[in-house]
């Protein structure tokens, strides 16, 4: 790929200086080595160093650079810049308070994540080496533990937009099922009790926006379905 110019339309807001947010039109010339959207944004930052966004690992592991790219949530570091229609419109993740430019306040998102107790609860004394699982039991955790908590899914979910303080959201519910599915966990009943609520779990109406945007290819809707399935099996 040779040198080329890329046009951006970027949401800008600095609460110390700006009265209200605005969209900035800006272009940047990319080097041949700039392949991902994040490369282009880092290049852009050398031109305008007031542009703020989060990034860290630049390879889809840390989940810092989640943003709304041309109307769809995704990770800048995993998105090919040449696959995007120009001008590339960048906005912060929808539904969360903006701190500055593309940086959002994720407090509410992590509050919901913590509410499902995202850790193994086992009151037996720890064995000498490790708590074992059969390969079949371990298999059930695939597609659950890989979540990097980038918040692409929860911030694309209308139910989370309307009730971020009450609905756990797809990321939190995927993590909830990760521990419900774990045969080493002993807190299953309390975990199901914690979710059996018209808001916390049942705000999900399976519209699958979360599945559509997950940069890791995970399926929170399926995990939510399995939680409902567990509740039904417990009740009948």
């Amino acid at each position: 790929m040779s040198k080329r110019t890329v046009h951006f339309k970027i949401y800008r807001y600095d609460p110390d200086k700006d009265e209200k947010p605005y969209m900035q039109d800006i272009s940047v010339e990319l080097e041949a080595s700039d392949k991902k959207l994040l490369d282009a944004m880092v290049r852009l930052k050398t031109k305008d160093d007031t542009l703020s966004f989060r990034r860290s690992c630049r390879e889809g592991v840390c989940g810092s650079d989640a943003m709304n790219i041309n109307g769809k949530n995704g990770l800048a570091c995993l998105t090919d810049v040449d696959s995007l229609q120009q001008p590339i419109t960048l906005r912060p993740l929808p539904g969360l308070p903006v701190i500055r430019d593309l940086i959002v306040d994720m407090t509410q998102f992590f509050k919901q994540y913590h509410s499902i107790k995202p850790y193994l609860v086992n009151n037996d004394p720890p064995p000498e080496r490790e708590r074992l699982q059969s390969p079949d039991d371990r298999e059930e955790l695939n597609g659950l533990y890989e979540c990097i908590l980038c918040a692409c899914c929860s911030t694309s979910c209308p139910s989370f937009w309307w009730n971020p303080d009450k609905f756990v959201g797809p990321a939190g519910l995927l993590a909830a099922y990760r521990f419900l599915a774990d045969t080493r966990d002993q807190d299953t009943n309390a975990r199901l009790d914690n979710l059996e609520d018209p808001y916390r779990l049942f705000r999900c109406h399976s519209i699958m926006n979360c599945v559509d945007v997950c940069p890791k290819g995970l399926n929170p809707t399926r995990a939510i379905g399995k939680i409902k399935d567990m509740m039904v099996r417990r009740a009948v």
């Binding site: 609520d197 018209p198 916390r200």
Partner: protein
């Protein structure tokens, strides 16, 4: 003073199952209704009202409307829960919906047993 937001009403599963069960019943009734009306000997008011004079069909029709109203109660309440934030206003809308649907159920019984 900060009002803390409590959650954990524990009726989510019951309503979720009820919504699905009522939907299944309505789908089955729709098929029965379609078959019964399409196989009428003649398309006239007498034949149509004759259909409703049979006890089981009237019973199934009444169950259909009860399912519809229960289904609608959960669905409409979901809308209020999503979009109406003030608790007092939400409760009032819940009650209005509930009273309307109970009223409709009585009205349906009156119509069905008058046919």
């Amino acid at each position: 003073m900060v009002r803390r937001q409590p959650v954990g009403a524990h009726y989510g599963l019951k309503d979720w199952i009820a919504q699905r069960a009522t939907a299944v019943f309505m789908a089955i009734y729709t098929i029965i209704f379609a078959v019964c009306t399409l196989t009428l000997s003649e398309f006239s008011y007498e034949a149509w009202s004759g259909l409703f004079s049979s006890g089981p069909f009237r019973f199934l029709s009444f169950l259909f409307f009860l399912s519809l109203f229960y289904h609608a109660w959960i669905g409409v309440r979901d809308i209020w829960m999503d979009y109406v934030k003030p608790d007092g206003l939400r409760l009032s809308l819940h009650l209005v919906t509930l009273f309307l649907l109970v009223g409709y159920a009585g009205w349906v019984a009156q119509i069905l047993w008058r046919l």
